[in-house]
Structures are given as structure tokens and as C-alpha cells.
Assembly symmetry: C2
Homo-oligomer: 374 residues x 2
């Protein structure tokens, strides 16, 4: 094998950059002159390249899923990756890719268009989950990995995995879906639609021509707060905050009287200015558009060609955004075509975010699936 | 009995206006020179004034709960009130009051301050649920009703009922709580807090000095959309909209591609400009602040003095905003002090709004409680 496209791979600290030196064609038909795909790896690829594990991420994480010598900062999935950890780098070669359309090293609407010298912003072609999968495929081709040992998709990453399995039906032997979905449903679409509207109605949005000085901070703040509300859960907050009051910013009617209000404010502060609004919009909409069964008669027809030795679906009871019935649907489709698939609904109270927070439950659950694959 | 305050009651179509001609003192300590309390009634008050049923409302409804000769327009609870209906006007005298702080006839932050000739806006005193209850008490006093046959509180109205029962422990013989809570919890506070932030961060908010021309329409639109997301439910939208597409306003990335998006837009359009932003903020915050157990050692202590022959709590499984455990809590408190109380959790899929939508389930449930009280 080998890559069927002109490329060069460079390294910047822990980050690998696959620089593709030919046009990238989007599923929507648009084209950009070239793309960079940022990824990180942990562990060592074995001689027959059969021990690779690929993680595709949710909306906001970068490729830095775990620390390493070259980047000792904790990654977004730190307790998951390392020697003896669920993704065991003593045995497996773990890859995590920053999604196409994002702003963490991989090309996205915030990147410079080489033809104009300016950021793409809204001139970036419509992004589909399929494009994220295509870019992941390029990384695997450049590494000459023909088949993965396991493919892992939490949240939006699960959608990207589905798209990748549709593009290359035997791309992996095992698949782990975590709090994800095979298609977007209206409740999640409604929340994301409102988040996007918050951003584009910010006067500083300026039809995408925001600057560092006039930046849609209010829109991003509101969107992130709604994000947090949809990512966590009612029982968690009841237990964690109750009706606790804090008075640091207590401005009578509209200030932050309750703990939960300052929690949201702090969460928003950490996010805004660390994520490009335009990239956020593109990735958010890509999720809405995704439906594995699009163009097929029904779900079973869409799952028909996917080849797997086994699959596992892990979901969380308190996840309102990627709810239980969507986890069941995935497992039913795999089981229905004879693939060994097990559904595990965890009683975590942290909602959708549980897979990045409730490691007491998630580490054993992921390890149980991954350990036999060593 | 009789009212212990100077007042005059006038009629405007179907609406009664109790004009209180002395200062109204708020629980927070503030005072305004006078209040008007708008209410409607259906049926006839009997000779010993023992057949009165009082409905206190959620955040946005007005006093027009049902049509009548003087106002034939359908009310917000039309199928509930009338001859032979759950609130049977052949036998009962039904009262519905527009909450203090609202903008539908009763005095609120949008009303004219007689001392300045201008709207109160943010000079309106901090509003507590207790103030809504005090204003309801004034209506009952003016009607010389010493004890209600039944007190009914859906949503925020339930909180107002609790406050009224705390102020006058024998105010009613029977109490019907619908999708409400005895105190606000952090998930609902978070949603309301974000709605308020959407409004006050709208540049047209202007610290409360908005005008008809420069009105915080964007903030109100976003707040209403988040309201709809929190009032309805994931299963309802899945069934109702699925991934249906409509193309009327399809503006590529950020337009309304999916049915659920135009549904939200239409819902927002109906609301904005029909509700005063300042009133919205005051009522929203009043709910956050409400906790029946405030100042008491615990919940049982707070419920101790309430006197009732019976109570019923009706809730909805899919209501995330006023969730099942809060319905259970209310029932447990009543049962714990020996009051005959029954909890009925309905399998409606329309979330919090079910009580105004799923009449097939709610009419029989309410009738079952109300019928024996005739």
C-alpha cells in the first residue's frame, strides 16, 4: 500500500502534521487546495502494522488525548491511554486525529486559504462527517496501516467512525462506540441549532468577518453554557450544587447568585477564545447532517457492508444529547447482521461528558473491551 | 371577613381588575404605591362561598385560562374549564389570576410607576414567589372567600400555591400540584439563568432601557427557543419531526434546514413582542429563588403547618425541567404529615408542556381529582 496522494509528514513537538499537497475534495463538492491533518500517537506500531488503535474525537478535543515525553501536559483522555491503561501503549499503537474542520492543527474554516492569504471562514466548503473520515483515512494511508485493530469513537467521533467504516468497510476489526449516534435526531439538532444561532446573532459575528478585537465572545459564551447544560445532567448538578449560593458576583437579579451559575460562567471562560467560532459552527452543523442511512432504504441496508469481528457500545443513562435509544439502535444494527456486539449502559450521573469524567466507570468498561484485543 | 385594604374592582371585558389603592410591600422589602391584579372567573360563587377553585399560572400565561361570553377567544387551558369539564363551572367558581410581576394586566416591571409616569423596569422591587401569593390572597379577600374548595398550581403556579398555603395554612381544603416543585433545583436554575443572560446580553437590552424601536428581540428569541427545548422532550420531537427537512429558509450552514429548526423559530415568533423582557426576567428569577424550606430546618418543618383534606400531584415522566423526583418529594411531604396524597406520573411525551397539550391524559387525571370535590 502507501498513500495515493502527494504528502509530507512533519513533526512539531508531540504533534504529527500530515501535509497533503493536493486538493482536498469535500463530500459536498467543494475543494480546497491542500489540507494539514494533525495527529498524535502513543506506543509503537508493530512490524506487520496490526496493533493500531484509532481514536476519532468529539467536537472540541484536539489530538492531544494523553501526555507524552514531548508534550507532558495532561491530555483530554489522560487516564485512558498509557502503559497498562485501557488503551495499553505497551501493546498498542494509539492514534488520535484532530478532526477536519477543527482549529487545533488540522485545516478548518479558521485556517489560511493559500490562494488568498486570509482565513477561509465562510468560504470553507460545507463540511460533512464524511470529510472528517476521509481525512482520517489519509492519516492511515500515510502510515501504511491497512486495517486497524480497533476504532474508537466517542460522541461526534463515533459518527466519524461510522463514516470511515462506510468508506472502507474492513478498516477495522473491532469498533468501540461511546455515547454516540448513527444519525442526528431533532432534540440534539435543536440544541446545536440554538447554539449556532447564539453565535451568528452576536453583533460581533459580522457575517463571519469577526476580528480578534471584535470577536463574538457573547455568542460563544452562551453557546458553551448551553453546551454544558446539554453535556451534563440534572442529577449530577442536584448532587453537586444543590441550592448552594455564592456571592462573589452577586448582582441582584441577573448576577450569579447560585453555585451552578458561576460553574457555567467558569466553564464558558475556559472555552471561549480557545475555539474558533466558525470552526464550531461547521463541526456543529456536520453532526446535524449526519445520518448513516442517508441514501439507503433503511438502517440495516446502511450497516450491511460494514465488516467487524466485534463491536461494543457504551452509553450513559443520564445522557440526554446522545440518548440510550440511540446506543441501543447501534448495537441492534450490529447484532442484527451477526456481529458480536454488546451494549453497556453505565449509570454515570455526569451525562454525555461521563466518558471524560467518570473514569471509575469508563476505564474498566473500555478496558474490558480492549484487553482481549492485545 | 372583607378586604383589609383599600381597593376597587372594575371590569374590562372578561377581565376583573382588583385595584389596590395602597402601597404593596414586597417580601424583599421594597414597596410600590399601588397594584392592579387582573383575574378572570368562570361559573358562579355559591351562597356560602365554598365552591371556589383558584388556578395560579406558570410563567407566561395570562388570566384568560378559558373562553367566556365576554371573551370567546380560547384560553390557555380551554379544555379544562367549563360545564362538565375537569374544572366544572356548573358546580364550581373558577378563578385564574395573572401573576404579580407579569405583563398581562397585573402590575409588573412593565407597568407605569405612578410616581414617575414611566415604566418601572429595573426599579421594580425584587420579586419573590411569595409576592405572587400575597397578590392572590388579596383577590380572595376582595371576593370574601375565606377558604377555597381547591387550589391548583401547574408549573410556577405550584410554587405560588405553596407560598399561599404557607401564608394562610387553611386557605384551601384540596390542593392539586401539576408539574411543579417545592423549590428550584440547579438544572432548572441553569436553564433560566442562561435565558436571562441571553436577554441582558442583547445590545438592545440597554440595562433595561430598551424601547419599542430598540427592543431585545434577539435575546427574547433565543430565550424562548431554549424555553421550548426545556419545555418539550426528546421523544416527542423524535416522533414528531424525525429528520424531516424543510427548505423554506434554507440558508446553507446556519439556516433552518430541519423541521425542528423552523418549529423553534415559529414558537419564538409567537412569543417575542408578546411578553415584556423585564417581566420575564423578574418572574424567571423569582422561580430560582423559591424554596419552601427556606428558613426552616428541613422540608417536613416547612410543610408542617399546611392544612389540607387531600392533595394530588400530577407529573410527567419526560419533564426534565420539573422532574419526577420533585413530584415525588411533594407527595412524600404531604403523605408524611398524614394528608391523603396521591402521586400520578403520566407517560406523556410532551415534557413539561404536557399539561397544556396532552389533554387526553390530563383531562381525565384532573377530573379524577376534581369530580369528588363537587
Amino acid at each position: 500500500m502507501g498513500s495515493s496522494f502527494k504528502s509530507k509528514t512533519t513533526r512539531e513537538g508531540a504533534t504529527w502534521n500530515l501535509q497533503v499537497r493536493e486538493p482536498f475534495r469535500f463530500a459536498s463538492g467543494g475543494t480546497i487546495p491542500r489540507v494539514n491533518i494533525a495527529y498524535e500517537t502513543w506506543g509503537t506500531l508493530n512490524g506487520d502494522k496490526s496493533n493500531a488503535v484509532l481514536i476519532l474525537t468529539g467536537l472540541s478535543p484536539d489530538a492531544h488525548a494523553a501526555s507524552s515525553e514531548l508534550n507532558p501536559r495532561d491530555g483530554w483522555w489522560e487516564p485512558m491511554i498509557g502503559p497498562g491503561r485501557p488503551f495499553d501503549t505497551d501493546h498498542q499503537f494509539v492514534i488520535c486525529i484532530n478532526s477536519l474542520g477543527s482549529c487545533k492543527g488540522t485545516t478548518g474554516p479558521g485556517s489560511i486559504n493559500p490562494n488568498t492569504g486570509k482565513q477561509y471562514r465562510l468560504s470553507f466548503p460545507d463540511l460533512r462527517i464524511q470529510d472528517i473520515a476521509s481525512s482520517a483515512q489519509m492519516v492511515l494511508q500515510s502510515l501504511e496501516i491497512e486495517q486497524l485493530r480497533a476504532l474508537i469513537g466517542p460522541s461526534m467521533g463515533g459518527m466519524s467512525c461510522f463514516a470511515l467504516m462506510k468508506q472502507v468497510p474492513d478498516i477495522t476489526r473491532h469498533f468501540l462506540a461511546i455515547s454516540t449516534a448513527a444519525r442526528a435526531e431533532p432534540y440534539a439538532i435543536a440544541i446545536r441549532s440554538l447554539q449556532r444561532e447564539m453565535i451568528v446573532r452576536d453583533p460581533n459575528w459580522q457575517d463571519g468577518d469577526y476580528t480578534n478585537k471584535r470577536w463574538p465572545e457573547t455568542g460563544m459564551r452562551l453557546a458553551r453554557k448551553l453546551g454544558m447544560i446539554s453535556y451534563r445532567s440534572e442529577p449530577e448538578w442536584r448532587e453537586r450544587f444543590g441550592r448552594e449560593v455564592q456571592n462573589r458576583f452577586n448582582q441582584r437579579l441577573f448576577g450569579m447568585h447560585f453555585e451552578v451559575e458561576s460553574y457555567l460562567e467558569n466553564a464558558a471562560k475556559k472555552f471561549i477564545r480557545n475555539f474558533d467560532p466558525c470552526c464550531y459552527l461547521y463541526l456543529s452543523r456536520a453532526m446535524d447532517w449526519y445520518d448513516i442511512s442517508e441514501g439507503f432504504e433503511n438502517m440495516p441496508a446502511a450497516f450491511k457492508d460494514i465488516q467487524l469481528d466485534s463491536a461494543r457500545v457504551i452509553g450513559v443513562e443520564t445522557d440526554a444529547l446522545w440518548p440510550a435509544h440511540q446506543q441501543k439502535e447501534i448495537c441492534q444494527q450490529f447484532s442484527g447482521k451477526g456481529i458480536d456486539c454488546h451494549l453497556q449502559m453505565l449509570p454515570s450521573i455526569q451525562g454525555h461528558d461521563s466518558f471524560m469524567v467518570d473514569y471509575d466507570r469508563f476505564c474498566p468498561a473500555v478496558a474490558e473491551f480492549m484487553r482481549p484485543l492485545i
